[in-house]
Symmetry: C2
Subunit: 273 residues, 2 copies
């Protein structure tokens, strides 16, 4: 017997929707220990019975009723899963009837479409945006005409993960420019960036955190010294403020939050993948 | 007046949960034209009133009742949003009561936590995994001891986006190895990979699609020729099959689907970020 409540994210597709809403629900019950598992690609009765068996066994091993967050669209599969004896929460079920009524048509169940390759063009766009991010990482290429966004910050402030996230999930072509000592000394925007002022977004970070991150990368270096980090961050913040570039601290922000605030600030409305 | 039904993803955090479930719901109503908008960071009554105004105006402009997918946890904010006159679907509401009953405790509303930086360690892990993916991209570094997964495929079959996705969303350290002409000629796994057989996952792709992708990258090259692609893909598939490496076609799979199937196949159970 274990003390952790078994939770299963069950889906006819990747399970990402089930897991996303499941995590959000579980964070509402702080203090309870959950053990979560993904059971994706439930695409027929046979797989549904297999999955129901896994869930039932998990409940017996834990001595507790499992919780299932279910996004299977086919009611037949959902009812097989319900035979597991778990508390089954059907994510879409409560919303279908009000939507059908408001939209005036019946839904057409489409299995596993949420994170499939529904649209080749948008898929292609994500991949191209990702290639763009990698080719324009750390100032490798300074051709910014095709960029939707240019992130400006000192080294290791969080530019690269943000660019890659923006590409993957929004198809946004995000370049990044690492501020050099020369840029910081001059207290001015690098000339290359001035023509793209409306695309610029600054990142900053707590110098103590920055020093930790840099120390992992280059232990004992001048680059990682707290003193260096303090000076660089102070200079960068002054310059970004003077130039009027919208800037966000990454110290307590997740990549998702940085990306979301950036899109909001720059007024970029892109569908999420 | 427009023909598109306005849909708003409203959240006290990034809005990712609202948008994820919202997209899944909308795909059930094929044939209806939706215009979607994200309204994130609704963190107080003032912002809630502002957002309600945006929604009301959107409905008036379209001449249709807007649909709101709402993940705000605070009932006060949700009731302000309801004053917009939209059909408001509260994503968490239907599931809280059954969970409270089963778990035997009341929920503690935690605003905007789903995609915040809840846990610095796991955040750090994502970033480190991302750095790993970029440093081990396209065989740049061949030190695979620290890798959780090594993707094996011909050039442009989808290795890099998959590695980056696995890092960002699962903290999985994914390296990738591009099969060279020498590898393909020898019909054997490259010696460097043999010691890591249990970490290997192959990708394959339809040669016609591969030729399109390569043509964009290097127009008119031998590399992009359909004949070249056909031969490389056939040789790679033969080799992967003979060596018993689990392999997936990326032709009709999204990055999410590839990642999800890979984790399932290799038995890697990681929380999703």
């Amino acid at each position: 017997m274990s003390d952790a409540r078994p939770v299963y994210f069950v889906s006819d597709g990747t399970g990402i929707t089930a897991e996303t809403i499941g995590h959000a629900l579980l964070t509402q019950f702080n203090g309870i220990d959950f053990r979560t598992d993904r059971l994706p690609f439930v695409d027929g009765p046979e797989r549904a019975r297999e999955v129901a068996g896994v869930i039932r066994a998990g409940g017996e091993a834990a001595g507790m009723k499992p919780v299932v967050i279910n996004t299977c669209m086919d009611p037949e599969l959902s009812s097989i899963i319900a035979e597991s004896g778990a508390l089954v929460l059907d994510v879409f079920e409560p919303f279908i009837a009000p939507l059908e009524q408001e939209l005036g048509i019946a839904r057409q169940p489409r299995v596993g479409r949420a994170h499939g390759i529904a649209d080749f063009d948008s898929y292609h766009k994500r991949i191209n945006a990702m290639n763009f991010a990698l080719n324009h990482d750390d100032g490798i290429s300074l051709d910014y005409d095709d960029a939707d966004v240019i992130l400006v910050a000192v080294s290791r402030a969080g530019k690269t993960p943000t660019c890659v996230y923006l590409a993957l999930h929004h198809g946004v072509r995000a370049a990044n420019y690492p501020l050099t000592d020369d840029d910081l000394d001059s207290q001015r925007l690098p000339p290359k960036l001035r023509a793209h002022r409306h695309k610029l977004f600054g990142l900053t970070i707590d110098p103590v955190r920055l020093a930790q991150i840099r120390e992992e990368r280059r232990p004992g270096s001048r680059y990682a010294k707290l003193e260096t980090c303090r000076r660089e961050v102070a200079d960068a913040e002054t310059m970004l403020r003077m130039e009027g570039i919208p800037t966000l601290s990454t110290t307590n922000a997740s990549i998702e939050e940085i990306a979301s605030r950036l899109l909001e600030t720059l007024g970029i409305n892109r569908e999420m993948f």
